[in-house]
């Protein structure tokens, strides 16, 4: 067992990072489960186990190694499960998890261009099973055709108390259709998710740069289009995506400046897609776009910093 300096390790280890994120994800999901759908959290855990098994099989076949606990893939699978309606049948879920883990997540390890596996799985569901993906319960009200939920909020006013944002079951016409915030199980408790995001940042599991820049640019862009900030921020998965999807370290740039720009790109494009198209789930496309830019951003950041240093070096040589 050879060791090399530094003989100390600071911060978290990658094997534990996904486990922490997974725990954080379980918090809103179990509350949702307790309030609305008692079997949901078990299904979520089941899907996560499925994801892990998928990775175990993959490593066994491709790398000929036995690895039993594969938190990363489990987390990906759980994310997919938490971001689609709980009514999603098993078969599509299985397909999307396998696609996410076998085609996107594992083969892309180490290549410069990486996609967010959960988002690709999600995209697959949206394209192949569109009916189930937008089925947020029984469509009792005829607002299902509204482009964005903000319009719903606007027409109804904003009848909720602050305390209800955290937990508590909401009654009224939205019950079963949009819950507190229109979205899937994981996306239901905005303030709680914000809190968890803060915790994860503090623990060093996720970086604060991408989520912050994502939220900022998203709010500013939507404000420019005249939408209310609060509605936008609290609706349709924005906070959920900021904490659990956008902040994913694997598929985003690793340089600091790259992360900020990537956050900007995702936020702005998300707001634009929301404004000009009928997708309420614009985040999927926005994140994939951000992933697409990541290698370029990293490369640019490296070159710019290197050039900067060289310029300073030459300057000092001249003096």
């Amino acid at each position: 067992m050879s060791v090399q300096s530094p003989f100390i390790r600071i911060g978290s280890r990658s094997s534990a990072m996904a486990a922490w994120a997974m725990l954080a994800l379980l918090v809103p999901c179990s509350i949702y489960s307790a309030l609305y759908d008692s079997t949901f959290v078990w299904r979520l855990i089941g899907y996560a186990l499925l994801g892990m098994m998928a990775e175990t099989v993959y490593t066994l076949i491709v790398k000929r190694k036995r690895r039993l606990v594969c938190m990363g893939s489990g987390f990906t699978a759980a994310l997919i499960a938490a971001s689609v309606p709980p009514t999603m049948p098993f078969l599509p879920m299985l397909f999307s998890i396998l696609i996410a883990v076998w085609i996107v997540k594992l083969p892309m390890v180490g290549s410069p261009l990486r996609f967010n596996a959960a988002m690709v799985g999600r995209l697959f569901l949206m394209l192949v099973y569109p009916a189930q993906t937008v089925n947020w319960g029984t469509p009792t009200v005829d607002v299902i055709s509204t482009a964005t939920p903000q319009e719903l909020y606007r027409s109804e006013g904003f009848p909720l108390e602050w305390s209800e944002w955290l937990f508590s079951k909401i009654d009224g016409t939205w019950e079963g259709l949009f819950l507190l915030v229109p979205g899937s199980p994981g996306e239901t408790f905005p303030l709680l998710i914000l809190l968890l995001g803060g915790l994860l940042c503090w623990k060093g599991i996720i970086g604060w740069r991408i989520p912050l820049f994502f939220l900022l640019s998203f709010s500013i862009t939507s404000a420019v289009f005249g939408n209310s900030l609060l509605f936008n921020l609290l609706s349709a998965a924005i906070l959920f995506s900021a904490v659990f999807i956008v902040a994913d370290p694997v598929s985003t740039p690793m340089s600091k400046s790259g992360q900020m720009i990537c956050g900007l790109i995702i936020g702005i494009s998300n707001a634009l897609i929301r404004e000009f198209t009928f997708y309420t789930e614009a985040i999927v496309y926005a994140v994939l776009l951000g992933n697409l830019c990541a290698p370029l951003l990293d490369h640019l950041a490296f070159e710019v910093r290197g050039k900067q240093l060289q310029r300073r070096m030459r300057q000092s040589a001249r003096d």
Binding site: M1, V3, Q4, S5, P6, F7, I8, R9, I10, G11, S12, R13, S14, S15, M17, V109, G110, R114, G204, G207, P249, V250, S251, T252, P253, M254, S255, K256, G258, Q259, D298, A301, F302, E303, V304, R305, G306, K307, Q308, L309, Q310, R312, M313, Q315, S316
Partner: protein, 342 residues
């Protein structure tokens, strides 16, 4: 851009004590009274002084290059977690340090002496008492605050350009232990034959600052304090946890040995996993470099570009990136290899 990181380290060695378990060396020279800038570098060569802060450059050359400095900086900012030898030398051997500092200042013509120490209220108060004639500058208790580059940044107010040396700005930065050795030679006529260092074995809570003769072997030290060293479980780290090297039991104490740490192997062991591209290494690097991109380029052999050269020459192998990497990638070792591609 220059940042430092906080390393939690439970008990560092007590800086108030400095033990001399071995017999003191004998007087060899007569000591000198008059310091002549012309003959002084030769005198330093004669006593065999090299940079004792870990650099190991011949002190005479450094002094010669610095001969037009306006300020002498005494570097007592040790930042390697756990070690406190610079502090204890400052407190216990203040006579020699001050004599050495005065001599060096005179030789290079420095009119001002700044004492850079680590910020620790208790310690700074005592230093204030002992060194009232020097200006005291305190640095945060973080790693790598003691690097020359970061001290220079604080002094000049701007980030020094890559590859520059302190004398270009008129500063001579000397380590406390080197100055102590100078003072020892001037006052007592004793050449550089002893080395103050921190000896520690964190797992048993053993921490001591001691002065040992240069050239004795590590095993002698271990026997002296009856430390339960087992080569299967423990490793011996020469000069610190962050930048140290693993040495064997039979190695000797050099003039540049800052500390001897006996650490558990499994604490330091890391299993390399694929890079998750988390960017923590970039965020943590005190100079804002991109350690992973550098490493990738080194591993692939693409070391030609200008940007690569710029970043590579800036890196000072502090090891922060390796310490924070969640995937246990030996970044700093690869970067060390990369240094040779320059």
């Amino acid at each position: 851009m220059l940042r430092t990181i906080k390393i939690d380290w439970k008990i560092p060695a007590d800086f108030r004590t400095l033990e001399t378990p071995f017999p003191r060396p004998e007087r060899i020279y007569s000591g000198i009274d008059e310091i002549d800038p012309k003959t002084f570098p030769a005198f330093l060569d004669e006593i065999g002084l090299i940079g004792m802060g870990g650099g190991g450059f011949p002190a005479s050359e450094k002094l010669w290059a610095n001969r037009h400095s306006h300020t002498l900086v005494i570097n007592g900012v040790e930042c390697e977690p756990g070690s406190s030898i610079d502090k204890s030398v400052l407190l216990n051997d203040s006579l020699w340090v001050a004599a050495g500092a005065a001599a060096c200042a005179k030789v290079v013509g420095a009119t001002k002496v700044i004492l850079a120490v680590q910020h620790n209220p208790e310690f700074v108060a005592e230093v204030n008492k002992l060194y009232s004639e020097f200006e005291i500058l305190s640095f945060p208790d973080k790693y790598p605050a003691g690097a020359e580059k970061l001290i220079l940044k604080r002094l000049t107010g701007k980030c020094p350009p890559p590859g520059s040396r302190p004398y270009e700005f008129g500063f001579l930065i000397q380590n406390v232990v080197s100055l102590r050795a100078v003072g020892r030679a001037i006052v007592d006529g004793i050449p550089v034959v002893e080395r103050p260092l921190t000896l520690a074995m964190p797992s048993t809570g053993f921490y001591k600052n001691i002065i040992v003769p240069v050239g004795i072997s590590v095993s002698e030290l271990l026997d002296l304090y009856k430390l339960p060293y087992d080569s299967g479980i423990h490793l011996i780290s020469d000069s610190g946890i962050m930048m140290g090297k693993e040495i064997s039991k039979s190695s000797t104490i050099e003039k540049t040995t800052i500390s001897i740490f006996i650490l558990k192997r499994d604490v330091a062991f890391r299993e390399e996993r694929p890079c998750t591209r988390c960017g923590v290494c970039n965020t943590a690097c005190p100079l804002g470099l991109h350690p992973f991109t550098l490493t990738e380029k080194i591993r692939k052999g693409k070391t030609g570009g200008n940007a690569f050269k710029g970043q590579m020459s800036e890196c000072f192998l502090c090891g922060v990136c390796s310490a924070v990497c969640p995937s246990g990638i030996p970044l700093v070792q690869t970067l060390e290899k990369g240094k040779q591609c320059l």
